[in-house]
Symmetry: C2
Subunit: 364 residues, 2 copies
DNA sequence: CTGTTAGCGCCTTCAG
DNA sequence: CTGAAGGCGCTAACAG
């Protein structure tokens, strides 16, 4: 009942297991065509499927790539996952997926599980955190990764290097210029917007969020504008929604107080937050961009048909995922050298769309 | 350099590998506490990580669950994947992910790869096809699954049973009442809409699409309305967009011709198509719901903030993924029995929102 | 070119 | 309660 084995195939074909192995699984030279045919036929008739576990054990390499994300249903991660998947398939490897919710402890556990499965490489996506409650977790994660690398594993990170990791050989990171792009966005918005700026950021200590906040502030500064107020919220749709509600309240009361209030330009540090914020603002009867501008970050594909079209920063998410996959696990020689703590550059692009268009001041 | 082994741990602790195995990996009875401690310490100091491949080989069970989707970046699939992931984690198993683009040939290959890895179970999501060009592929896929099941594997399918599969023991499907729900939607729309109905369907032969189309027609019929015209398009955003463009043209020319044209209610067989269609309609200067109603299917979470809010049919996607995972692979006894070709019922809910609201006929 | 001999790392009877 | 022996299925040197 259990799947048939190589030995059975060999016996049926009247050859040794070694020979059967040579013909069925890629070996340097294929045995004589006559015998090869016999073996193939035997395998076929038995419905033979090689046992990858056994192969892996024997060759000590699993043909597996591990991917760690916060949440696979989040479009940011699923886009990256697509890229990782594509790269994996090019390397003829399968993808092992772990979702962690973003806590370093769970990420450590995932790395450990991947190590147990002897994945050839590991890709980690998702913002790093420097918050105190994550200190310990970060250390554990770093240690686990370090061990994994020492044992010959390769790891790719998209975003920021793991906090506290030593970036040994076999460790490389796809760096995203969040700060520069956010600054670029700010400068662009400063050009068309004359009111106040507000930033809806994630929790303090989330590196991705922090970078974008700081970058945006820097951009404003470079444009000769004062720093924007920063609202802290969850790094997700509902965080954006809550912050949006707060802002909507301000806008409404500002209008009620008279025409003195200045129009707000809201920058949410990612698209889903921006969408949440937009929903909140609108639920208050306000309109975008008439009553407020709003911009996001990531340029999530599923959100592109949102109206008014959301100004944002496009990121090559799929490409990032692809690049994060270590080239060829176990690669030796020159690559090995240059791979030590290497970093792959990636860039994005500011997309100005309807949500931040200047509005004709019909009412004044 | 390579990770240390159980044998090394045992040697360091001065015990036999068997003993070390018993204390480190769950065995019935733990050896004496004194010796257990020694082993644990040895393992700790060596940074021992059990080799899951070897364990799997020895126990002939991998602790892996395989998931097959068309495209992990598609929100429909990523939502299901989240559910599958959750169920996997509850079973203390890891998730192996394969994306196929939807062709039965690739799905067959994925099943084969999973079988090679000895996954405890396989979950397949994504619409089945009865198109001629998929005949052969379907047969191959069915055969592969059959073999997998015969070898003790369990498979769960979300949506439709695999075309041609024999539904043996260990095979179960999460059935979605696409037809009934679409009919329900149609009846609801018929109540508030007085114009013509048009359906934007996927390619003929895609079961999910076909069910929804047929169901919608049935609903119209039950409401005493004539059958709707069916436009065929790709089962994705751009398919919806193209069909939407066509419809936008008709609407515009209809309006130009005079007030005789009746308002259109467009039903796209899934949300992303609906969003694409809406974008196309709008790009033509038309407005929703003023110039046309539009409805989708799935109630994709990321699209909920779309304005006007899209009428659609909510589906418990995550739950569907969760339910698709076979309870406990290798389960014996009574469950085994009732699992043969079983089907889990699931249901959805019609969500009427702004995009199909009746419009006050100010212009007449 | 083919067959034989050892393991890969672990679990699991079976004795002691 | 512990150790010794055999095998899970396959590959990789060696011989022949």
């Amino acid at each position: 009942m259990a799947a048939s084995t190589l030995t059975e195939v060999a016996r049926l074909a009247g050859v040794s297991p070694a020979t059967a192995s040579r013909v069925l699984n890629g070996s340097a030279r294929t045995p004589g065509p006559d015998i090869a045919e016999r073996v193939r036929k035997a395998a076929e008739s038995l419905g033979y499927i090689p046992n990858a576990q056994a192969q892996g054990l024997a060759k000590s390499s699993s043909g597996l790539i591990g991917l760690i994300v916060h949440d696979i249903a989040d479009p940011y991660f699923s886009a990256i996952a697509r890229g990782v998947q594509a790269a994996a398939r090019e390397q003829h490897k399968m993808l092992l997926l772990a979702t962690t919710g973003g806590t370093p402890e769970e990420e450590r556990a995932a790395v450990s599980a991947f190590a147990a499965r002897r994945t050839d490489s590991i890709v980690i996506a998702g913002s790093r955190s420097t918050r105190v409650q994550d200190q310990e977790g970060n250390a554990g994660l770093a240690a686990e990764l370090d061990r994994y690398c020492r044992n010959g594993g390769r790891v790719g990170v998209v975003g920021h290097p793991i906090v506290g990791a030593s970036e040994p050989e076999g460790y490389h990171v796809v760096r995203v210029p969040n700060g520069d792009l956010a600054a670029d966005l700010a400068r662009n918005l400063a050009r068309s917007h004359s009111g106040d700026f507000v930033i809806i950021g994630g929790p303090e200590g989330l590196l991705t969020s922090d970078d974008r906040v700081r970058g945006f502030q820097r951009g404003l500064e470079e444009a000769g504008l004062p720093q924007a107020e920063v609202l802290r919220a969850g790094f997700n749709r509902s965080g954006g929604y809550e912050a949006g509600l707060e802002l909507a309240g301000r806008i409404s009361s500002g209008r009620a107080a008279g025409s003195g209030a200045r129009r707000l330009c809201i920058f949410a540090v990612n698209d889903v937050m921006a969408i949440g914020a937009a929903a909140a603002v609108r639920s208050n009867g306000l309109r975008i961009p008439r009553d407020a501008s709003i911009a996001g970050f990531d340029d999530i594909e599923t959100l592109r048909d949102f109206r008014p079209a959301l100004s944002t920063v496009w990121l090559p998410l799929e490409e990032m995922g692809r690049l994060a996959v270590p080239s060829q696990a176990g690669g030796t020689g020159e690559n090995r050298q240059s791979d030590g703590g290497s970093s792959v550059p990636v860039t994005g692009k500011v997309m100005l769309r309807r949500s931040t268009e200047a509005v004709t001041e019909a009412a004044a």
